[in-house]
């Protein structure tokens, strides 16, 4: 029963996320590229999206991260790593290159699939391939 509720909660959360991405036009890769194009035709929209998102989560997490447990689970599932390491920095660097090339990252790409064009589907498939490549390299 709780499993179903968690699934529905996730569905609701995902729908809000997807709707937010569409409303803010983050599913338009040109808008992302225009934000990162500091030297060219700069569009601050993505920055404002992040600020608005953070305005909500900075406040809500202050409270939510100090409860003993979430509503539908026994405990919070939070990342445990705290130290900065080379994997974090190199990984972020690599991520940024891909992001700056195509103007997509996982969330907006999946949401953009709703547009029915081929691009987001190709990109998402490649992201999954990238996951597999990382797992393969890591297990060497």
């Amino acid at each position: 029963m709780t499993h179903t509720r968690r699934g529905l909660a996730a569905l609701m959360s995902g729908a809000l996320f997807g709707a937010g991405l569409a409303v803010s036009q983050m599913i338009n890769p040109n808008k992302i590229l225009d934000f990162l194009d500091f030297m060219g035709s700069w569009d601050p929209s993505l920055g404002l999206v992040m600020i608005a998102g953070l305005a909500v989560t900075l406040m809500s997490f202050r409270w939510l991260l100090h409860v003993p447990g979430p509503l539908l689970d026994i405990h919070l599932h939070l990342p445990t790593k705290e130290e900065l390491d080379s994997e974090l920095i190199l990984g972020a660097l690599i991520f940024g290159v891909g992001w700056g090339l195509a103007g997509y990252c996982p969330g907006p790409a999946i949401a953009a699939i709703a547009l029915g064009t081929a691009e987001p589907m190709i990109f998402t498939a490649a992201v999954i391939a990238g996951f597999l490549l990382h797992r393969f390299v890591k297990n060497d």
């Binding site: 995902g14 569409a22 405990h75 900065l84 690599i94 290159v97 195509a102 790409a109």
Partner: protein, 146 residues
Amino acid sequence: MQNFTPWSALSGGAMIGLSATVLMWLNGRVAGVSGILAGGAGISDPGDRSWRLMFLLGLLLGSAMVIYLAPGQPAFAPRTLFSPDLLVVAGLFVGFGSRMSGGCTSGHGICGIARLSTRSLTAVLVFMGSGAVTVYLARHLFGVSG
């Protein structure tokens, strides 16, 4: 400043923040799409697949609802002429890099910074930087477009 859409950015961003709030409040999970996708695709976190698949389904449905039901949507013409080869390369980098760094723009950006994580703040600054350099090189030096 071109094509700046402040009101849709603010409202869409607030919705994203609300989404992360709901997932943390109800399920106690970080709304990091790279992690959710990796788990949903069966690549990591075995046994925790179903809620992830539901989230991804919601992502698609929520976006579709806005695109097809909201007035004036989609507010842009979808890009269709971008090189598929470059899309694949970009996707590989994004996939690889997100797993290596432990997150993406939602995981590190919206959730990680909200958790006051130094790791996440660092990741965001680094990928914004490498993203900006890449756009400069791709757009202005190599003339990549779609």
